[in-house]
Amino acid sequence: MKHPFRALLLGVSLALTPACASLQVGHMQFENPISAARTLDQQAYALLNAYAAVIEEATDIVRDPSAPLAFKRALGQAERVATPGAEMLQIAVTAYVRARADFEAASGASQPTLERAATALTVAAQRLSQAIEAARAPISELEDLVRARRG
């Protein structure tokens, strides 16, 4: 009986965990978009879209009158925690994309200008890495919340 919920959690965790290319759950195969990314901006893009896909499917579950209210509330709590993480990620990746564009534009400029752009890009990359990590954390929160709800 708990398998559908466990499978949902596995799917969500997989979507936001970079280690595996895919996961087989029963007859279903869950692809991991993040592990296909080669750059930070691709990782952030994969993470945002995977998260959106998870919420879209969670919405259908919440709209289903036969789904238990306790489960819907658990999903609601998880969404309230995870969406601000996605907002932070978007801010960080936008700053990174701008810093990279500035760095590329400065490639023919004087040494101090180039160094300044390189430093800004390094800082933006570090912030983006932290934001990607931070956006993953609420998924563990989701797992804990649903486990707590399911007893």
Binding site: A37, E57, T59, D60, E79, T83
Partner: protein, 106 residues
């Protein structure tokens, strides 16, 4: 997995038919338990269908990211904006649906 759920639902229907044989003092509690289990099983069916959709969406995103990675293409600001707009739309729809579900339960 769905076959298992179907079998459990049939078993549950059979158990419901036996409810009158349960001692009167336990009958109400037994009926509650069966009702709860039935709801969870029905939810299991809907979650199963949603997992198929989720698997398809994740596969589509992976294919897109693989294509980007293969040619070393950077993600544009517009693409990131569109991703975040998708998150915001999904989040708003989710919260509205949850509010409706909560209102329906009152």
């Amino acid at each position: 997995m769905l076959n298992l759920i179907l079998q459990l639902q049939m078993l549950l229907a059979a158990l419901s038919a036996l409810l009158p044989l349960v001692p009167e003092e336990s009958r109400e509690r037994a009926a509650e338990i069966i009702d709860t289990v039935a709801k969870v099983l029905t939810a299991g069916n809907s979650v199963g269908a949603n997992l198929d959709d989720l698997a398809a969406k994740l596969a589509a995103i992976r294919a897109e990211v693989e294509a980007m990675a293969a040619v070393g293409r950077h993600v544009s600001g517009e693409e990131l904006e569109a991703s975040m707009a998708r998150v915001r739309t999904a989040s708003a729809a989710f919260r509205a649906a949850l509010e409706t579900a909560e209102a329906g339960a009152r």
